[in-house]
Structures are given as C-alpha cells and as structure tokens.
C-alpha cells in the first residue's frame, strides 16, 4: 500500500541521512562536516600563501643582485675602469662646457632672428662666439684621443677577465661531464691585475699630466685672447670664463686621484647596496660598465605620482563631498556608476589615448600664440610628466572618490543632525563636522589612490617619455614638461630582453621588490589611519 510506504520513508529519512547519527563515517577522526570546514579554512589561506609566494619568488630572484653587483664594482676597480673614469669625468665636463657655448650661440641666433636681423649680420655678430667654441673644442682634442686610448686598454683588461672567467666555468662543466680532453683545450688566462694596473698607471699618468697641462695652458690663453666687451653675450661669456677657470683648477685634484688610485683597494660590501640606493645612473648592456642606480627611476615615479595626486585629490574628494552631501538622488544615481565605470578603463587604453590624443593636444596647446608668454613654452617633448600625470589622475580618481565617499557615509547621522540643530548651514556642517570626522578615511583613500598610481605600468611606459635621467628641477614648475622613466615602466621595458640570472635580471627583480614593499607599506599606513582614527559612536 502506498500510504504506509510513504510513512515509512518519512520516518526513516532523517535517521539515515543527516540528523544526529552517531555512526557517521569518520576519516582521520574527523566527521564530514569538520572535513568540509577544514577544506574551506584551507582555501582561506590562499591570500596569505600567495603573498608569501610572491615574497619568496621575488627575493629568490632578486637576492643575488647585491653579491653580483659587488663583484661588478670590484671588477670596475680591479680592471682599472675607475682609473680611466677619473679622466673621463674631466673630459665630460669639457664637453658639457662646449655644449653650453653651442646652446648659447643657438639661443642668441634665435633672439637675433626674432629681432629681424639678416643672416650675414647674425653671423658676423656671433663670429667671436663661434671662434671661441671651435678653439675650446680644439683644446680638448688631445685629451679625447688619450681618453680613447685609455678606454680601449682598460676595456681590454675587463674583456680578457670576463672571457677567462667564462672559460673557467665551462671547463669546470666539461670536467664534471667527464670530458677531460675538451676541458684541457680551453685556455684560461690568469690576469695579473697588479701588473696590468701598474702598466696602466705608468703608461698613462705622465701622458695625462702632460695633456692636462697643455689643455690648461691652451684654455687659459684662449680665455685671455677672447674679448667680448660690449657684445650681447658678454655676461654669459664672462660666466663661462669663470666656470672654465674653476674647471682648470680642478685638474690637479683629478691628477691626485689618479695618482692615489690603486687597483686593490677593497670595495666594501655595503657599497653594492648604497650605490644601488643612491646611484643616479641606470646604464645597462654597456661595453664599459653597467650602473644600477634607482634614484632617477624613483624620482620619475614620484614626480608622476605627485602630479597625478595634485590633480586627482581635489577632484576626487570634491566629487565625493558633492555627491554625498549636496547632489540630488538622480545625480547620485548617474555619477556614482559612471565613476565606478572609469575605474575599469584598461590602463593600456588610457596609455594609447595619451599617445594618440592627449600628448599631441598638450603640445599643440603650448604652441598657441596666446600661451607664448609662459616661459618654456612651446614644449619639445610630447610625452612627459604632465601627460602621464593627467592620465594617472584619471585612474586615481575612482579609488579616491569611492573610498572618500564611504568614509563620509560612515559618519554617524547624529553628528550632522546635531550640527544642523545648532544652526550651522550645510557648508559649515561639511567643513567643520563631516570632513574632520571622516578625515582618516579620506587620507587612507588618498593613500590607496597613491598606491594605485605608483604601481601603474602601462600608462607610464607608453606616455612618460622613458628618458633615463633625473629631471632638471632647476627648471622650476616647467619640470613637469620633461620626460622621465619610472620603476614600473623600466621593469616592463627591460624584462623581455634580459638573460636569466644576469646582473640586470636580478636588478629588475630588486626593483620589483621595492615596488612590492612600497605598495605593502602604503596599504599598511592606510589601514592604520582607518583603524586608529576611526570615530567611535557612543
């Protein structure tokens, strides 16, 4: 009979399937519910595991950088590259002085042209200047030739050492592989650095002394012979003369340095770290010496981020206050999803927009006649700090807006009502009550926006101009029209072309570690702000 069957099933069901049955299947002493619970709790650890794995792999690849960097610095001294670079600095300074003269001439030509002077007249007016530049270059020719000689000798020592080291390694590999004959065929040259250094010094020190002396003499007579009284460039040339006199007196200290140089002066290990942190040059894959200094990259990242925040903070916070306190419901319903939508514009699309539209737009803007009064306009570079900064501002705005709006929302309603009941108007309530009460949240919103901006890659890679130099801050505010390179952009640019395990590869991982730590730090500080200064209702 069907009815009894139904009844039987009903009273059997809870017994067999779930309820309180003591004789459940157990595995390792755990019931099925407990197993499920541990399974879930295990997956909750994913975030921690991933963070640990990121830390581990980045450090695993990056940790080797400092010993390798130390070796590279040691070789720089041992092979005498350092010795040559003392003299190179002297010659570079001469070249930059010559460049100054060139720029001066160009500048004056443009000015004269603007004043409506003819070509022949300009030439005759600037002839002494041009003569000075030619003679000044002439004075440096001998030094340049000597420098080339020194460079090739030192580079030769370095190359021989590198080759012999490579051979040593491959010989060891061959012996390990049991191929004794092939291993014996490899010649390994033992470089006697002491002898080479002695050779370098005895060959070039007297020559350098002689060349420097003639250079100084030539320059002195040149300066004395140049008469620029009552010309339009008198002030500049006089300044140039003063600089050159100072430059000449520096020759002695260069000689002293070269005299005192020894190849076996130990390179302390901390230098591999300090040279990385304070180095101002990032030069890779050079035949001479690779330099890994984070300063230009860090400054690049920082300037771009600061420009972005200067634009994004007023906009984001202002919009959050407007939407939270002032706007009508309809306006809120339109603006909030719109700004959230801005957050998901892919960064590469923004970068592309920067290249195709914004960069050109800014340059055209600076070329307008009505903007000509601004010093430094029109700008030369289409891709620069401001282009990248403006686009990054657009990326930072959504996070700043959303988190600030949340913070304003979290202010207890009673605060606002109390303020109104005391007769304050809306602006007073906002500026005296709402914003101070949510300040910690707004600050953490700004920090999170900063974190987003400093870690952004594609926009800066495409738009920041990628020039590996510290921007010239003497230009004042105009510095924002100079191209820079950033930490993120450099990593993305160089990773595809590095050899695994090379010094450059490891340097890029150290950069990634720096980025990782910066982002963790920013997050941590933001959370401290939220937690510590959270207003408690009570």
């Amino acid at each position: 009979m069907p009815e009894t069957l139904e009844i039987k099933r009903l009273d059997q069901r809870p017994m067999t399937e779930s309820l309180l049955s003591k004789n459940k299947v157990k595995f390792l002493g755990l019931g099925s519910d407990e197993i499920i619970k541990y399974f879930f709790s295990g997956s909750a650890w994913t975030a921690i595991i991933v963070l640990a794995l990121i830390t581990f792999s980045l450090f695993r690849e990056g940790a080797g950088f400092f010993p390798q960097h130390h070796d590279s610095l040691k070789l720089y001294r041992l092979a005498g590259l350092e010795f040559v670079d003392y003299f190179r600095d002297q010659m570079t300074a001469q070249a930059s002085l010559s460049r100054y003269l060139n720029e001066l001439k160009l500048n004056k030509t443009l000015k004269l042209q603007a004043a409506g002077k003819g070509e022949a007249e300009i030439e005759s007016l600037l002839a002494p200047l041009e003569q000075l530049r030619l003679d000044f270059d002439q004075a440096g020719l001998e030094g340049q030739a000597l420098l080339d000689e020194m460079t090739s000798m030192a580079a030769g020592i370095k190359d021989r050492y590198t080759i012999s080291e490579e051979n040593r390694i491959s010989r060891k590999q061959l012996i390990d592989a049991g191929m004794k004959e092939e291993a014996d065929l490899l010649e390994i040259e033992d470089i006697d650095f002491a002898k080479e250094a002695e050779n370098l010094k005895t060959t070039f020190l007297p020559k350098q002394k002689e060349v420097s002396a003639t250079m100084a003499a030539k320059m002195k007579s040149l300066l004395a012979a140049t008469k620029v009284e009552n010309t339009i460039y008198e002030a500049e040339v006089n300044r140039f003369k003063a600089t050159v006199s100072k430059y000449i007196t520096g020759f002695d200290s260069v000689q002293m340095k070269m005299q005192d140089w020894t190849h076996d002066k130990p390179v302390p290990f901390y230098e591999s770290i300090t040279k990385f942190i304070t180095g101002t040059k990032w030069v890779t894959q050079s035949f001479w010496q690779d330099w890994y200094g984070i300063v230009p990259l860090f400054i690049g990242s920082l300037t771009v981020s600061i420009v972005a925040l200067i634009v994004a903070v007023p906009l984001g916070v202002g919009a959050a206050i407007y939407i939270n306190q002032v706007a009508s419901i309809q306006e809120q319903n339109f603006v909030k999803p719109f700004i959230e939508f801005v957050a998901v514009i892919p960064s590469v699309v923004l970068g592309f927009f920067g290249i195709a539209v914004l960069g050109e737009g800014i340059r055209v803007f600076t070329q307008w006649d009505m903007m000509a009064w601004v010093p430094g306009f029109p700008i030369a570079e289409r891709l620069n700090i401001i282009t990248a900064g403006l686009l990054l501002a657009l990326m930072a705005v959504p996070s700043i807006f959303t988190f600030s709006e949340d913070a304003l929302n979290n202010v207890p309603k009673a605060y606002k009502e109390a303020s109104f009941s005391l007769g304050a108007n809306r602006l007073q309530t906002i500026s005296r009550i709402m914003v101070p009460a949510s300040l910690s949240g707004i600050i953490s919103a700004i920090l999170l926006g900063f974190g987003r901006v400093i870690g952004e890659t594609m926009v800066v890679l495409l738009v920041a101009g990628n020039r590996l130099e510290i921007p010239d801050f003497s230009a004042g505010l105009m510095v924002i029209f100079q191209p820079v390179h950033t930490m993120t952009g450099l990593v993305a640019q160089e990773i595809p072309e590095v050899v695994k395990g090379s010094l450059q590869y490891r340097a890029l991982f150290v950069l990634a570690i720096a980025l990782f730590l910066i982002s963790l730090l920013i997050n941590y500080v933001a959370q401290i702000f939220v937690r510590k200064y959270k207003i408690s209702v009570g």
Binding site: V344, P346, V348, F353, L394, R426, M458, L462, T488, A492
Partner: protein, 405 residues
Amino acid sequence: MQNKSNNPFLKVSTPAKRQETAFFWLFRIATYIIIAAAGYIFFDIAYKGVGVIFQLKAPFVNVPFLTEWPETLDIFKLPANQDMKMEVSQYARMTYENPKVNFVEKGTLEMVIFKSPEGVMKKVLPEQKEAFDADPISHGWSVLSERAVMQVFQLKEVSEIKIGNTLYRSLVDDNEGVPPLEHKTQVYAAGGIYPAIVGTVLLVVGSMIIALTLGVLCATYLSEYSRSGPIINFIRLSIMNLAGVPSIVFGMWGYAMFVLLFGWNVSLMAGWFTLAFMVLPIVITGSEESLRAVPQGFREGSLALGASKWQTIYKNVLPYALPGILTSSIMGIARIAGETAAIMFTASFVVRDELPWQVKHAGEFFFNGVMALPYHIFVVSARVPQNVYTEKSSMARHSSSWSSF
C-alpha cells in the same frame, strides 16, 4: 499684501549663503570635470572606432576585422589603362576595400595553376601550359587547377590602393612586369584582431574559473565558518594587501615562478594563474558581501530543521548568494580583460599564426602563449605611435570592456 522683507519664507542672500553656493559650485565643477574627462575619452574612442567596427552596408559589422589575423597594410599606386589580373575572390575583396577607386572590368580569363612540391603556386595561361610543363624549372610540379578564373581589370586613372599584405603579394605575383608605384607599408594596419579576441576570451575564462573557485571557497569560510580572531584578521589583512599589489609585480612573480621556475614558459597556464591570483581579492570581497547579504534567518531556519552546517550552506545560502557573486565577479572580468602588465611576460605573444586550439597535442594548448587584445594595443601603440590601426584595435578593446558589463 505683506511687505516683501517681512516674508519669512523669502530667500535672503547673506554672505554665508553666497559662500555656500560658491563652494558647492566648486564641488559640482570637480565632479563634472571628472565626468567630462572620462566622457571625452569614451566619446573620442567610440567616435573614431565605430567606423571601423560597423559599416553602412550589410552585414553592418566589419566582419574581416573581427575574423582575420593582423596584417601589414600595403599602400601603393597602380598605373592607369594597364591590364591587370587577379583571382575573382581576391579582386572582389580589393574592390570592397577600396570603394573610391575606379576599377574597369575587362572580362575574365581562365588559367592553369601549377603547384610545386614546396607549395609555391604559379599561374600560367592555357596556351603556355605545355611549354611550362616541359620546362625543367617545373620538374615535380603538379597541376592544382585547370581552370582558375581570373578577373582582368584596368584602372581609369592612377590611384592609391590600400590592401593587406597577402592580397598585395598575390597581386604582384600574378602581374609580373607591372610594378606598383610608391609602395609604402604600415605595420599591423590591415586585417583584424580575431586571434587577440580569442586569446583574451580564453585568458578571462580560465583565470575566472580558478579565481571563482578559490574566491568563493575563501569567502564562504570567512562569512560562514570563521569567528573573529587574530588569524582571521591576518587573513583579511593579507587579502587587502594582495589587492594593493601592483599588477607589474604580479607579472614579475608569474614570470619568476610559473614561467621560469615551473618551466611552463610563456603560456596560457602561466597567464591563467597569474591573473587568477591578481583578481582573487576582488572576487573574495565581492563574494563575501553577497554571502553576507543572505538573511540570517535562512541559515537559522535550515539549521532548526536539522540540516547540518554544510547542508545549510549548500542548499540555503550559496544558491541565494550566487547571482550576487556572479555580478561582483564582472568587476574581476573587466580587470582581467584589460590587464596588460601581468600578461606581457607570462602569457602573451606578439603574433601567433595558429589559433590556440590548433595544436597537435592537448598539452600544447595549455603551454603555448596566446595573443591578447590589451597586449596587442600596447604593441601597436608602442611601435607605430599614430596610425589608423591603433584606433581600430583600441575601439575593439573598448567594445570588449563594454560587453563585459
């Protein structure tokens, strides 16, 4: 009638009120600057791109752009009043792509196509067939087609023609002795973005499966099982920190771990895992929110009826949270679809000639890189700063991020 100044409801302009209005206008302007800037970018890209994706003739969508491989564009001029020949289908394609050029059709011509063992093709007129066959050059060649129909055409005046590289090469091959004039090329300016779309879809699907599995498990634990304590706080802290890690660091990690340490090379798998872990915090946060939105009474009712914890979650919590979880994961999809830095050394190739599934072994599907839209945009905009195509691909990218909404 009351005196105006005595009306208590009349708006009176005081300095404080004027200040208030001024400040509110500042805030309003800030809001609308954001909207205008973002709106301008949308408008600019849509305006320039819509002409590429859509067209006025049927089928109203630019099918070749969505179904072909990226190609070099050849721009050249052809002499006027000169007989040229081209295969009929190719000729149709050329006239379709150059609607403004004045082509004059001179009838059709049948030719014999020879094919060498190496795959080189050669078209010969029927009367030359015997001669070519006897030629020692054609040793080992076979006849591929006896009657290939060629279109013979002329140009009314010298005009500029733009076609993709494949068409251009066959045009040059078929018309020996008629050299094109003023030949220029533009990299990636012809063809379409089909493989990039396919690659992006694969990357999104695979990494979302991984991220949703892990993310929902983690969120379920956090919202259903966990009680607040130091360990849970630590887990939450790590999730928040993971959300703040820059995508390039994820890329470096994926490169160091999946590509090099695990030896997966630049591959779909490496990209899946890198992207999945990158998007995990978004998925966890979204899923937890939707799990918490399920009323507590649902759980209590189920438990009161004697269901176990797992049965409660499985039958009475997850089904109601699922729509919310999926909605919130759209945010993650949008993030993955547009991500470049994390895939540029882990998953994406500049060019790949086959589709990801055109492989000999199943393993190759997983351990080969793919083309992806965001990386394609990067390659195009980094190499050729301004050409037609950058606008095209950017539009496609954008329509894909629209479609993910």
